[in-house]
């Protein structure tokens, strides 16, 4: 089934597929970030991947990656349970990483993208409310990046970065 979907993607978006890693544990396809929205809409509406299980950010020395895990809950047009299908997007620009949002395609991406923005500083263009959800606006650095120094902070040290009351 997954081979057929890969074949379908290759026919429909020949220029969007960067690679299909063979050694991946789950079926994976790497998509160019410019075409992620078209491919997402195609996978949701025509293949039936109506459920985005989770999204994750990855920090590698040469690039950032964003991973999408898709499942099908047995809706039309394919009424069988499919998945997981992993979609990857390479974000090559390490200084100003950004890619298009999919939060209007799968609503579950809304908070996942906020979280990835919070921890990696990856900007999702077109996200309706992109802000930090775990740390506060003004927290120094992006905690899950590899170049973030994981040290402890004192209360006083972080005091100037905090939003003023009552907006914490």
């Amino acid at each position: 089934m997954m081979e057929e979907i890969f074949q379908l993607l290759k026919e429909k978006f020949p220029e969007a597929i960067v690679e299909i890693p063979e050694e991946a544990k789950d079926p994976t396809v790497v998509i160019r970030k410019e075409q992620i929205r078209e491919v997402s809409l195609f996978l949701r509406d025509e293949v039936g991947f109506n459920y985005l299980s989770f999204m994750a950010g990855v920090d590698l020395p040469e690039r950032f990656e964003v991973v999408y895990y898709l499942y099908s809950m047995g809706r039309e047009p394919i009424s069988s349970n499919l998945g997981p299908l992993a979609i990857k997007v390479y974000v090559e620009d390490k200084t100003n990483p950004s890619l298009p949002t999919v939060s209007d395609i799968w609503p579950s991406a809304f908070q996942q993208e906020q979280e990835i923005y919070d921890f990696f500083g990856i900007v999702f263009e077109g996200h309706p409310d992109l802000r930090r959800i775990f740390m506060w606006e003004g927290f120094p650095g992006w905690p899950l990046r590899k170049d973030f120094e994981n040290r402890t902070f004192t209360f006083k040290e972080l005091e100037p970065t905090r939003p003023k009351a009552p907006y914490w």
Partner: protein, 170 residues
């Protein structure tokens, strides 16, 4: 004292003599009302201590108040993250004096295993702590022991020297 104190006959054998301090401290330490306030897994042990098996009501501290204005005791039960720290401080400031703090568990004492950017390394960095309860999490008995220690501490205080009745700000 030359003058004799005249006690009416119906009151004889019915009078106790004590000090103001003792009466005042007895009343305070027998009704330490904690703030309903839990941050992490230590809160589960705190709840267990308040339930029937361990029964914190035996020491007069069963009335967990939902408002800091009515609470005497803040049990900091759990990890204080940097995002939560301003709110903890604010709740402490909203409690009327006299007020006491128990730091429950390794996280509240020193940050515990969370040697990270997100966690405050000990709640005593922002509020004064009276009793520290080590453990991860401490057993309900340990929390009860801390409560008894705090009661003993209150018993030793004097109304003349406590900071919240001084004319100048402490």
């Amino acid at each position: 004292m030359a003058e004799e104190i005249i006690v009416p006959p119906e009151l004889r054998r019915n009078i106790l003599i004590t000090t103001v301090d003792k009466l005042y401290n007895w009343a305070r330490r027998s009704s330490l009302w904690p703030l309903t306030f839990g941050l992490a897994c230590c809160a589960i042990e705190m709840i267990a201590a308040s339930a029937s098996r361990y029964d914190i009501a035996r020491f007069g501290a069963e009335v967990f108040r939902a408002s800091p204005r009515q609470a005497d005791l803040m049990i900091v039960a759990g990890t204080v993250t940097h995002k939560m720290a301003p709110q903890v401080l604010r709740l402490y400031h909203q409690m009327p004096e006299p007020k006491y703090v128990i730091a429950m568990g390794s996280c509240a004492i020193s940050g515990g295993i969370f040697n990270s950017y997100a966690v405050l390394q000990g709640v005593d960095e922002i509020i004064p702590v009276d009793v520290y309860v080590p453990g991860c999490p401490p057993r309900p008995e340990a929390l009860l022991d801390a409560l008894i220690k705090l009661q003993k501490k209150i018993d030793r205080q004097s109304i003349l020297t406590v900071p919240w009745y001084r004319r100048e700000k402490a």
